[in-house]
Symmetry: C2
Subunit: 370 residues, 2 copies
Amino acid sequence: MTSNNTNPTQQYAADALQAFVEAVFSKIGCSDTDATKAARVLIAADLRGIDSHGVARLSGYVKQWEMGKLNTRPRMQIVHQTPSTATIDGDRGLGLLIGQYAMQVAIDKAGQVGSGWVAVRNSGHYGIAGYHAMLALAHDMIGISTTHASALAVPTFGIEKMLGTNPLAVAIPAGQKPPLVADFATTAAAYGKLQILQRKGQEAPIGWAQDAQGAPTTNPHAPKEGGALLTLGSDELRSSHKGYCMSAVVDILSGVLPGANYGPWVPPFATAGSTSERQPPVGKGTGHFFGALRIDGFQPAEVFKSHIDNWIDAFEQTKAIEGKRVLIPGEPERLAEAERLEKGIPILAPVVADLESLGQKLGIEWIQAI
Amino acid sequence: MTSNNTNPTQQYAADALQAFVEAVFSKIGCSDTDATKAARVLIAADLRGIDSHGVARLSGYVKQWEMGKLNTRPRMQIVHQTPSTATIDGDRGLGLLIGQYAMQVAIDKAGQVGSGWVAVRNSGHYGIAGYHAMLALAHDMIGISTTHASALAVPTFGIEKMLGTNPLAVAIPAGQKPPLVADFATTAAAYGKLQILQRKGQEAPIGWAQDAQGAPTTNPHAPKEGGALLTLGSDELRSSHKGYCMSAVVDILSGVLPGANYGPWVPPFATAGSTSERQPPVGKGTGHFFGALRIDGFQPAEVFKSHIDNWIDAFEQTKAIEGKRVLIPGEPERLAEAERLEKGIPILAPVVADLESLGQKLGIEWIQAI
């Protein structure tokens, strides 16, 4: 048992966690194939160091199911399409699965006509954006994945929560080098970072959140106390309107384009009432947006990938601030994955307790730590 | 004559400026049609309040032509394509024109198969990103436009200029409301903002630039003195890596995908040697990337546009910090345009002097202020 932040953690093997999560998804009605595919998204998040989106979320999905908000035998279908575009209705299924299905439709369309763009409605939390985007890599395609989320952030000058953390991921294939994967929330900081500070009783840097009057604050509890997260850029002077613009575009592509909800109407994950969800709804459930661009729709894939290797080389070799080095987008997650595949995934004690009790409730034995 | 910042300005009618710029482009060899179309991009920038990208740039294009770097009778051609993608070689023509041509190819492809994506090489400075993206609006399409630029910014932790201001624009059609247009550089501040402070002898806010050692600085001259611009987010704590990721994606789509230069190899505009251009080149000239997404590839355009109106309504009505209001992406530019169409475009005295002398050199009479 090691200590991570203020909470003790235990290390678990990715395989064992995958099996446990699969069993849980099977228990609530998913087919075996679906349970495996859904579990992979959560384990990928834990492996890649994005702990807020891994097994820590599992009981949330089960809660959604208990509330009757999650359909584990959905009939996902394409409701509208052209050769390079489609809208998919996810039939209130697991976003973790709908995302993979939608990305495959985008990839298939790109195979046919050079690119594929798929907007999704009636979905739910889809895990880490990057997982879906990365599905394009094996096909020598650039993958794009965005989702909106329930409102936690304000537009510049606002004091009402109107936008989610609205992440954007872009995965770009390389040749000899690992792929370049950008995957980030369009807020200055993810809410998970504030939650860590809440537990530790520490203050947040200025620029992450504002209080109920819209003043900058270091109080990590601010978003629960009438305040909100700030968009990337943090304040007017440092161009928070650009983070607002990006977040707005993500919300419109993921929400308005497929006919889902949008802005303050995006439904919350798992715990109803936890955010400023607005009623009545203006669309169907939560939405996402996916894209696949075939590299050889522009130039030979091998030539492109060798130039990406050169791009990465140049950025790796760039002079850095003393004691630091320049990282490549996706590198921190890739390094975490290598380490965690070898040494196991550290899970915080409260998350272990939550999973153990979830297992008890569903009759599934919790796994042994390494 | 009014005073704007520390420099006096004079007001000019947009029509008169348009005619002057057309005459200049004709004089250096553009066809009449091309001169008109190129001039429109610069005047649109001035009308929309993006003064750094309007007529202030005109003598730069002429300088490019004098240096033999600009071909005013280019043979632009599609060198590779699929039904929804294309790569265009701009034959060293005016980016102002190549952008419009490429966007039209994207729009035509979207008309055929739902979306169109066009990467461009062998181009030059294309004006404001938003102009090209907005060409999609009349077709009930979402327009996307990105370009890279010569290196002025550092990746997080870097002290070597590796990325341009690399702007991204997205234009989204509305119904009764004006369209939503996001158009922004992926740096914390545009370099033009630092230039204004240089002229006024004032300090910059922390978060815009760093010095040669990578320390935060308020010196607006820093990027010319071994320092650099910072990406959106400003510093590690406030997620400058996200601005770096966005800038990297823009650079790869605009540079690597079409086979143009990229990163520190992107050639500078007009004044050679003004940036850290790296030799030998790794591709052909400067590049851009454009997209057009047909709304009715996803759902009926009228339904989508009425929801965009509702989105805009909700954001316009959101509670704001006392004395402020929440703006809609593109609103400041739209308000500037309405005002400047009525009252004229204010041009700074040094820019007036520059244009007057450009006119004298080319035998074109400078215009009267209002």
